[in-house]
Point group: C2
Chain length 434, copies 2
């Protein structure tokens, strides 16, 4: 078998066999197949596509490029949750303690933010001391003892994915349905998940612009689950405007803490309840969606979800004094409110512009090596469909300097569109694929 023949086959629109896909992925991971062949192949995949079986074979080959965790001795049913990434998406910080508090253990390996989309690990590192580099043994030990873990992916988990993603990033081969789907699913499968809830974000602040695109991606990932004997469901959720109010690392941790205490913004609270209920049902801890919602609501209201979060933070060496008193979390020196210059209904609160503005303030990275400022960010006080009066606060900017705050203000004002007529609110969800 020769790599060039596999490239040619895909270039000509033919279907690759499992053996060919394994040969290519294993060869690339081992360095026998060079980057220049992998990038030509990725471009051919992007332009010619892959069917469900090919995408599944690719997913399993990538998962099998490193260690594949076996959680069967640790939990009854290994569940996992993955968001395709958005602005203000701190769902994991709430949902994980909630479902663990309901008795469904969940160990999650998360990623860092890149581009305008925030990363769960970056958010958790707002808490001084919090470790995101647990070993596999620590991961398994925490999962067994306290039923909740939130750490980074170990280097040996699906190493072909990391290598391929870095290559795709510089060769124009990121936006390919089979490559995105296999990247997401390979990491979940390598992490030992048997049941997976996918939160597919759709809209201006997501990688998928339209519901049709998001649904295609969701369907593809659910098909991978079916063909690889994993139970997978996908929620299609809105990411035209930020989720919740807070965008920025410590700000989002504070919002998650509010929500774990039973409060938090209404949209975020509802989003977390829905995701938690689906996860409980998937993990067979709830008998119905209604039962799942009831259980989740109960642990949020009686403090068990909060306790579980506190246990998680303490177990991973985070200083709980900072979450017990969130005002101690990092905060930027300049805090500036942006009032509305006019009245009207909000027709657009552009998630991507807000996400990019947060990155410019220092909340995210332009490249992988950039440091993060955990204290900066933006509070977004209004949602699409709300009637705002002139003078009401639209945004609160947390910046390192006045010039940065002023620059952010100019961009944020461009993120809004106004209407003189009432505008319907955006839905939280567009549907579910299962």
């Amino acid at each position: 078998m020769r790599a060039v023949d596999i490239i040619i086959k895909k270039r000509d629109g033919l279907v690759l066999s499992r053996a060919e896909i394994e040969f290519f992925v294993q060869g690339y991971a081992a360095g026998r197949i060079p980057d220049y062949q992998a990038s030509a192949w990725a471009m051919a995949v992007l332009l010619k596509g892959m069917d469900e079986q090919e995408t599944t074979d690719l997913t399993l080959a990538i998962a099998g490029s490193g260690e594949v965790l076996d959680l069967s001795g640790v939990v009854d049913l290994a569940v996992d949750k993955h968001s395709t990434g958005g602005v203000g998406d701190k769902t994991t910080l709430v949902v994980e303690p909630v479902v663990a508090a309901c008795g469904l253990p969940v160990g999650k390996m998360s990623g860092r933010g890149l581009g305008f989309s925030g990363g769960t690990l970056d958010k958790m590192e707002s808490i001084p001391g919090f470790r995101t580099n647990l070993s596999t043994d620590e991961f398994l030990d925490h999962l067994r003892r306290i039923g909740v873990v939130l750490t980074g992916q170990t280097a040996d988990l699906a190493p072909a994915d990391g290598k391929l993603y870095a290559l795709r990033d510089v060769t124009g081969t990121v936006p390919s349905m089979p490559l995105i789907a296999s990247s997401v699913m390979s990491k979940k499968i390598a992490g030992g998940a048997q049941a997976i809830l996918l939160d597919v974000k759709i809209g201006l602040g997501a990688f998928m612009d339209t519901v049709a695109e998001g649904r295609l991606l969701a369907e593809r990932m659910v098909a991978i689950g079916r063909l690889s004997d994993r139970c997978v469901i996908a929620l299609l959720s809105d990411m035209n405007q930020p989720l919740g109010i807070a965008v920025g690392n410590a700000l989002e941790v504070k919002e998650a803490i509010d929500t774990l205490h039973g409060g938090g913004p209404a949209d975020f609270h509802e989003h977390c309840l829905e995701v938690a209920a689906r996860l409980l049902l998937l993990g067979k801890t709830a008998v119905s969606l209604e039962d799942g919602r009831r259980q989740a609501l109960a642990v949020l209201e009686d403090g068990r979800a909060w306790d579980k979060f506190r246990t998680l933070v303490a177990a991973q060496a985070g200083d709980v004094a900072y979450i017990d008193d969130p005002s101690r979390l990092p905060s930027a020196p300049i805090v500036e409110e942006v009032p509305a210059q006019r009245s009207g209904w909000l027709a657009q609160v552009h998630a991507r512009i807000i996400g990019e503005t947060a990155v410019e303030l220092g909340a995210g990275r332009a490249s992988k090596e950039d440091p993060i400022d955990h204290g900066v960010g933006i509070l977004v006080h209004h949602k699409v469909g709300e009637l705002v009066e002139a003078g009401q606060t639209l945004f609160t900017i947390y910046a390192r300097s006045q010039p940065e705050a002023s620059s952010a203000r100019l961009r944020l004002e461009q993120s809004l569109a106004w209407s003189t007529e009432p505008v319907p609110p955006l839905p939280l969800f567009y549907g579910i694929v299962e």
Copy 2:
């Protein structure tokens, strides 16, 4: 400007600007743009295409990646000839001395054979001592003094082409019309040509299978000429069966010598006359095609073409004793005739199979470093459309060993298709694009 954005633009089917193409080619030639970006870009070009202006910009950028010869002080009008490659195509060995003998100086930088297609330099190196590594100064000096040169491309001529071709060869990105057209044309333009005759081979033993494909390639190269102020015409010629009788290096030199003495196989003789006449017209040495044919025929018949070939060989340190007595040229120890087992009309004499068999005998290279055996090869005694009686000789095999001869015989027998009904002969030419 970023390489990845240029890749993305082409991936999305958009037209690249001259500045973008120059940035990419210069960056790649200089090593600033890595192979893995160039291969993804090449795949996008293959699958999305390039228009005539893009292909011209690419051609000029590749030509400009190294030295560009200026022949204006050396010849009145710099003409060149290029064949896209075929089996038994020793046209240059005859046509170049013919047109030079008619008073049109022609300096040609040729290539080596790769795959089933033979290379002019390999053929000439059958003549002991013949140098194919002239310096640029020697090239210009010979062209000025004797009006005829036949040497290898210097390393600094269109270096981006060599680098890109090697990459395309291992990334499944060879069969792309704009990449093939720009590769051919960039070398001709870097070599200083102002008028170019292209011999586009079409058929089973060519890179272009069909007349439609060959015509597209020809049209694209003629368009590059128009957009870059070079005069370009393209002949579409048959390569379903080998050209002439001889396939293999010394065998082809002998056939070229026969032809230069006014003999040679009828199809090859006619092919050379047509190409020479077109070249003389292009170089303004003939006033019409008929005048060109008349001049070419005259120098073949009165010995001036042969004298010019002898002068060429001597000037490049070849031992003329070997061409004065071609029986001294390298010849393989085993010579085996293959008689027809049946009678019938030949419906196919598969050029590619014959070319591949010659390579297996040692006449060509499987990879760039392989040595060549100048003495081996095949004589193909019959053409499509001929009536062959059982017992007549179909092939003469020149091999290094009996097992190699037997193996070749088996393959050669598969190259033929027979008919019990008369079959029309194949045309020499399918048309001309100008």
